[in-house]
Amino acid sequence: MKIVVLVKHVPDPDATWSFAPDLTLDRAAVEGRLSELDEYAVEQAVRLVEGGLDAEVTCLTVGPPAAADGLRKALAMGADAAVHVVDDAIHGSDALSTSLVLAAALERTGFDLVLTGMGSTDAEMSVMPAMVADRLGVPQATFAGELAVVDGTVTIKRETETAVEHVSADLPAVVSVTDRTGESRYPAFRAIMLAKKKPVATWSLADLSVDAERVGLAASATRVVGTETAPPRPAGVLVTDDGTGASQLAEFLAARGLL
């Protein structure tokens, strides 16, 4: 069977981010990395194969040329092949357009199971699994804390705001995983070297027959009208506990009407 892992190359979460003149995130100004949250998905794909599932693992990304670094990391973690959809027209695409491109790429790769992280560490929308699933006409099982694939069915356990759920979906399906699924591996030097020899296909929008008019900033269904610096929290009071810390804290809470 075929597992495709959707991964995103994101700006280093510990760096200071800024807006480009077109009010998109300035990706060129910051070092990038494979999104930590997608590493859990790569890890699960590799573990499924290590656990005996007969599957080929392809990782797929949509992004600028630098995103190839993220694919190399996923290959070093154990994926077999990679696909990079790169096209200048994609810059500034919203979630709807991105899902359109991902779905077109998935139709070309073929898939039984699509895995991805619970969200990206940059946009943090967490909508891509459901959007891609909807475009492909397949079920999605999101925010999996555990998953298993048996006899053409994927089963997951997940925790929502209101319940703990077990969910079962026939393949093909899209599954997103949380950090709960298990620590992702740190590729050894040998794996990093081997990854350099693995195939990375580069596809354009034309290769996918996606109309460039349907993607990019101009096609976005939302438009940024303004940005502002979040009002900083007024500097707080800091006291060192000399035995009265608790009562000072209680006074503070009482003064704010919080007790």
Binding site: T142, H166, A246
Partner: protein, 321 residues
Amino acid sequence: MPEVLVLVERTPGGVRKASLELLTAARRLGDPSAVLFGPPDPELVAALGAYGATRVYAVAGEEPEQFLAVPKAEALVALAGRVQPVAILVSSGQEGKDVAARVAVRLDSGILTDAVDVALAGQTVRATQPVFSGTRLVTSEVVRGTPVVALRPSAVEAVPAAVDPVVEPVEMEFSESARGARVTDRTPKGSTSGRPELTDAEVVVAGGRGVGSSEGFAVVEQLADALGAAVGATRAVTDLAWVDHDLQIGQTGRTVAPSLYVAAGVSGSIQHRAGMQSSKTVVAVNTDPNAAIFSVADFGVVGDLHQVLPALTQEILARRG
């Protein structure tokens, strides 16, 4: 006034507080219409009416409970086609986002998630979202389709505005593909500890690595109970299994925005702050005067939480008599 469709999330005893916040926010855009799945119990309808739902669409059928996201998305899409709402509001959480994502694709409509504010500017729906770890705010408008907005719990205060809702039953023919992801088992939460649900709680007491041990969490829980609060934790703590993973607050856990956030032994990593920095008042107790949590705290105590928390609990219990 045009209608605003609001996806209501039920709890075992009623509806989520987040759903009442959505109704409150929806009133700024038009007439709130609650979309309720399952039987429209009179108490439920009254609760929705108390927060301004002029209409309650009661969608019949077992599918929305038995299958993930798609049946609810199909119902919202069908209703949207019928009533041409000014916007569709959902809670910015797991179910809300899954449903909203499918609705946005099917209606080819702009979607804004993690909104902390929503308003009408002329005829256009605008929402404000925190970005860059909450350091910047971006205001965007939806320029195509029916705006789909996922509003973060606790971002807007639920304010009553009682009306008598019209209840309209909705019969849906769900598609075959709506039955793709079957819920084989569901255990509702929140009934065991007796504490409020974390995401919707007014007060949260969170413990970090500084709590020291699983047993040490007792001081956190006692303070939480004195305050009627939910208990939360950092990722370090849930990774160490001192408390249940579901209590994790932060980028990969829950996002909370309570009136009061008490951080005990929490260093305040950027990932943790992402999940709590919209809290109205933040107080922190930590032995390290340089802990990052103090940079977002309105009141900080440099000290041992195992001294300060029990003393604070006693003080609160004494004040409340």
